[in-house]
């Protein structure tokens, strides 16, 4: 059986900032939801169900904040589900919405992510709590050094350098100037990045994402619903896949193992499946723009390789050649990406939202020319959970 066709018909984002003291978590969630519904040209009463993307409870200081948010999102009396795969939650939420409609049981589903991590004094002390209390938590591992481990392996394996990573930061921050929703809007030079404060070797301050507050929402609808409301601009969802890797990072660190921690193998596998579903044979040629979940510069290097935009180990050189610039062969993160805004629960959802805006050519200043197909990714856990979503302007 073929899944029912569906697409994104509305997108809403708040501006991403450090803190929002004027609203509570549900109020923040509702902002993006209301914008997305308005963008779709429908109302809360028109939706059949809600999927809520909420990552780490402890970042909000509320155990299961979805309970508090359900009514604010029009969930009263309706099917409502919360998904949580850490940073990948937004991607998982879109996929969950996809399955709602693809199964034929739903016509219109609202997918929302909301993040107020600005209320915890240090996100990294919370992120330490994702690691195993028996074997790894006491070693002070957090999301920064978790990515440092990948960076040093990538450097050793392929000769990638801190300079290559800096190029990613420079491009992201330049792109973010075109994005009214971006949190960090300050250009940097390669030297600025290289001379910024060392956080966890080899990652320096400007290699790292900010911690952001904000929400994002998308409205998914079936083909028949889209016909009924006569929506013209639709980002059709053509491919969805996710892949989970092993919890223990050390399981992926052995000279002879194929699933090497340097390489984001689970992203490679998810992409392969999503491309296959979307009928993409040559991602390099067929994908016009990518919104990649990469909270650190080094993460993006491994990701573009896993997505098949270049060979393994060549991401550094490709960055030197400008392949991922706005006017390059495959523009990566025209929004500025996660390096310029990371509201964790909403981040992977924002990647899909930004990719959808590209596909329907509503990305404003950050619009890439001639977008037919876009890919968006999510990443969560110990570089463990990956989601890949392929969008197209053709059904």
């Amino acid at each position: 059986m073929k899944p029912h066709n569906l697409g994104i018909i509305g997108v809403g984002q708040t501006t991403y900032v450090t803190r929002r003291d004027d609203v509570t978590l549900p109020e923040l969630a509702r902002e993006a939801a209301a914008t997305a519904l308005e963008d779709a040209g429908i109302e809360f009463k028109d939706i059949d169900g809600v999927v809520f993307s909420l990552a780490l409870d402890a970042l909000e200081g509320i155990e299961g904040g979805e309970k508090w948010c359900a009514e604010a999102l029009g969930g009263y009396g309706k099917p409502f589900l919360r998904v949580h795969t850490g940073g990948a939650a937004g991607g998982s939420a879109v996929h969950t919405g996809f399955f709602h409609i693809a199964s034929g049981h739903f016509n219109c589903v609202l997918v929302v992510g909301s993040e107020k991590m600005g209320e915890t004094p240090d996100a990294q002390s919370v992120l330490n709590q994702i690691f195993d209390p028996i074997y790894e938590r006491e070693l002070a591992i957090n999301a920064v050094n978790m990515c440092s481990f990948q960076a040093v392996r990538h450097m050793k394996k392929y000769g990638t350098s801190e300079y290559h990573m800096a190029l990613v930061a420079v491009r992201s921050r330049k792109n973010a100037l075109n994005n009214p929703y971006a949190h960090i809007k300050k250009e940097v030079t390669v030297d600025d990045v290289l001379n910024s404060k060392m956080i966890c070797y080899p990652l320096k301050l400007y290699d790292c994402c900010p911690r952001s507050t904000g929400s994002c929402a998308v409205v998914l609808a079936s083909e028949s619903f889209i016909k009924k409301i006569r929506k013209k601009k639709v980002a059709w969802i053509k491919g969805v896949a996710s892949c989970t890797n092993s919890y223990y990072m050390g399981d992926r660190m052995n000279g002879s193992c194929i699933n090497d921690y340097a390489d984001s193998e689970a992203l490679f596998l998810a992409a392969k499946k999503a491309y296959n579903m979307a009928g993409i044979n040559n991602p390099n040629r067929e994908i016009d723009v990518a919104e990649i979940y990469a909270p650190f510069t080094s993460t993006e290097l491994a990701a573009v390789e896993a997505l098949g935009f270049c060979e393994k180990g060549e991401s550094g050189i490709c960055n030197e050649k400008g392949i991922f610039e706005m006017d390059g062969e495959i523009p990566v993160n025209p929004s500025g990406g996660v390096l310029t805004a990371n509201p964790i629960s909403a981040t992977a959802l924002a990647r899909v939202a930004e990719a959808a805006l590209q596909v329907i050519e509503k990305a404003g200043e950050r619009q890439v020319r001639k977008v037919g197909t876009a890919v968006a990714t999510g990443e969560g856990g110990s570089l463990q959970f990956y989601t890949v979503t392929v969008l197209s302007n053709k059904i």
Partner: protein, 377 residues
């Protein structure tokens, strides 16, 4: 697209000091795979459900993904009660994208303080500081119920006795055997009107199911439990609204599930039910919200023996949550037990001629979210 449950795996419920959380999960997953006849390699999709707060891990499926069979698989965690894992699995298989899905849920209730964790679920401004938690919020619903529906201590005690008696037929159960009615009625109030004797134990345990598409299920040499109906819905965050003892979300969910399963008269058409008896009072409220009887008549189903083992519509032949409560997994256990009934694999607790079964679970605080599943053979 029809979807079926083709395998069930459960650990025993109780205190599991010798097993870490992923070891418990592994046990249930391995049992479900064995029961389904599938190998891990054949699994296409995995759905996990657990509570980070109860597990003490900020993304708890990081550790349990491997033990749920998800290594390099398409996996997702639903952070709503275990039965929502079944919802997710259903949608995934029904979309036609996956031929099968493993559903796994767990909780080690003895490793933390569920009441304290649930207090953190309340908003930091209005409810948390007022002592709301998983017991007090249920007590507020129960007190409205006791007062308006004129439910007696005796009725609540009879619910507990029924379920604990049923549990003697379930070798996996945490508690079993009948306490004396006097012991229940004289047990301390935890939060009025709920006494200690009206509450479930704190259990460790894990439960796993294997779901499959119609094509896959029919290709196997066995009788699966078909999903005939499914409904899930949300109500209010704050307990204590005027009608909170009418379990709004459950009424909505059951209507959705009955419509899909084409059930008009639940008492006549359903042969057995496994519901989330999170307190003795709630089992009676659940009967009413499910349309087994009118408002305030739940006690009569108990008094008349309609829902006892051997009655017209046996409820919780497994012993229910009052006998075993691995919190997040408890609602998936309801589905597992209902599936075993329609498959004819429920052993000593098998209800005769169980062709249609209902499973029910709650999620979120008090009874804010509900899910109803109708299974048939």
């Amino acid at each position: 697209m029809k979807v079926a449950i083709i395998g069930v795996g459960q650990t025993s419920y109780g205190e599991h000091k010798k097993k870490s959380i992923d070891e418990l999960v592994f046990e249930s997953t391995q049992k479900a795979l064995y029961d389904s006849g599938l190998q891990r390699d054949e699994i296409e999709s995995v759905v996990t459900t657990g509570s980070d707060g109860l597990d003490g891990r900020a993304i708890s499926n990081m550790i349990t993904a491997g033990s749920s069979g998800a290594y390099l698989k398409d996996e997702v965690k639903v952070s709503d009660g275990g039965i929502y894992g079944l919802v997710m699995g259903y949608l995934r298989v029904a979309s036609g994208l996956f031929d099968n899905s493993l559903i796994v849920s767990w909780t080690k209730s003895t490793e933390s303080s569920p009441e304290l964790v649930s207090n953190m679920a309340y908003d930091p401004f209005f409810l948390r500081d007022c002592g709301f938690n998983s017991v007090t919020s249920l007590a507020i619903e129960a007190s409205a119920y006791v007062n308006i529906a004129k439910v007696k201590e005796n009725d609540a005690a009879d619910v507990v006795l029924k379920n604990r008696r049923n549990a003697t037929r379930n070798h996996l159960s945490h508690l079993s055997g009948s306490p004396s009615k006097r012991a229940i009625i004289s047990s301390n109030f935890v939060s009025y009107p709920i006494r200690k004797g009206h509450l479930p134990p704190k259990s460790d345990g894990a439960c796993a199911l294997v779901m499959a598409s119609e094509k896959k299920a029919k290709s196997l040499d066995k009788y699966p439990a078909w999903i005939l109906g499914l409904g899930w819905s949300r109500g209010e965050y704050e307990a204590g609204g005027g009608d909170s003892n009418k379990l709004f979300s459950l009424g909505k969910s059951s209507k959705m599930a009955y419509k899909m399963a084409k059930i008009k008269n639940p008492v006549d058409e359903i042969d057995v039910a496994e519901v989330s008896d999170i307190t003795a009072y709630h089992e009676m409220m659940i009967y009413e919200a499910l349309g087994f009887c009118g408002y305030g008549e739940g006690k009569e189903l108990i008094n008349d023996g309609v829902t006892k083992f051997g009655g017209k519509l046996p409820v919780n032949p497994s012993g229910g949550i009052l006998s075993s409560n691995p919190i997040f997994a408890s609602s998936l256990v309801r589905v597992a037990e209902a599936a075993l009934q329609v498959m004819g694999h429920a052993g000593k607790r098998q209800v005769n001629n169980a062709e249609v079964a209902l499973a029910h679970g709650f999620t979120a605080m008090s009874t804010q979210g509900s899910c109803v599943v109708i299974l048939g053979n």
